[in-house]
Symmetry: C2
Subunit: 227 residues, 2 copies
Amino acid sequence: MKSPAPRKSRGPKTLKVDTTRLLDAAQRVFSENGMGGASIRAIAREAGCDPALIYYHFDSKEAMFLALLERKMPPLAVELELLSAPSNTEPTALRLWKISRIYWRHFGEDSGFRAVLRGQILGGTEGTKDAIARHIQRAAKCNWAIIDQGIERGDLRSDLHTRVTGFFLVRMFMEIFDLVPSFVERITQVPVGQAVAKAERAWFELFWRGVAAHPSKPLPADLFSVE
Amino acid sequence: MKSPAPRKSRGPKTLKVDTTRLLDAAQRVFSENGMGGASIRAIAREAGCDPALIYYHFDSKEAMFLALLERKMPPLAVELELLSAPSNTEPTALRLWKISRIYWRHFGEDSGFRAVLRGQILGGTEGTKDAIARHIQRAAKCNWAIIDQGIERGDLRSDLHTRVTGFFLVRMFMEIFDLVPSFVERITQVPVGQAVAKAERAWFELFWRGVAAHPSKPLPADLFSVE
DNA sequence: ACTCCATTTCAACGACTGTTGAATAATGCG
DNA sequence: CGCATTATTCAACAGTCGTTGAAATGGAGT
């Protein structure tokens, strides 16, 4: 005997499912499942509603991704813009390290979202790629400014190519977040524990020696305790 | 009036479709479309046969990917093992640079395949992840050996962490191959042209300053013309 | 000539995808 | 109360995917 189809009641629920709640669900699903498993149906399940409801709030899946991007990226850029203000006279090494802390706070635990972002940069629609580029450029300009100011202040080598140097700094941090967990477990057989944190510091020290005008001068003592 | 279904003849064709031919097709499709677009049907189309034939030669799509991996990785490892032999007395900087040339020869133009590999490392089945880890480890050991020998010979800083340093060197080259084309076009608005080659050299110079025991000693003059 | 085997195609299965149109229920307003 | 609006669900469409079982074909061996 089949039970007579326990249909959910239609019409507005007491707990309204609005745009924000859908984006929260989308973010969780993206973060955990990455692009592959992030289907409309999975997001709807996470939000506790029907897949069709998503199309009441968004024009398409792509539009939802863009809305999520619009929600996640500007706060990152705002922090970076604050850090990169020319009036900021903190040591250049500290500012560069803070760049990575900011990226960590906004993207560190979102490995799935990073994977989606990467996938869309490489193979999204033109509209999506343009939107991503605009957001990344806004953040990247801050990194470039910090590097340029570092050169002007005599802290960084004057023969650096600003843009490619910024790319190196940030991308390697992202790679560490993404891949070190897998590599540590399966390839190096080093205890997982603090592997990511150790790799971050090793990378920053290497980077600093590579870009500093006077690499033998010691880094600020409490640099790596900055949150 | 529908034409009477121009069926292909069954049975062996004059041009036999064997394992090699299927792997060739798979490699082309992986390279261009990445994992997402690399369906069994697309590979079959590329090989000029029916999708079902693939299951005559391979147990599953995963098995085909593993076979492709088995065909692509060992030649890379062999080249690296030759380069990392302790009897090799070439300058350490040259050996490190040659590492990147080897990776370039084997993976440089295979952006789709790199993407697939990355995806499988992060989200493949346990069997696939193990197989990939075995291959990567074999190659990575060579890089570690070169770095260790560089330290012993006094060319590299003695406080380097071998494994993480090797990770940095290779991963950044891969990132450059993958992302610089997109970034150059959409974010930096620098002419594309030789951007990847320039980034490669900028990265190697930064890396070398970061790891060398005496970074002020000039690099071998003709380093970057090595193929 | 007949049989057997290796190779190839066909047709379908079930699952999943993004998306849409219609039906339905709760709410706010006059 | 009646009505329009808003929020929600249902059922389906057309497409893709990996995979499978059965049928067909050509050639080799006897």
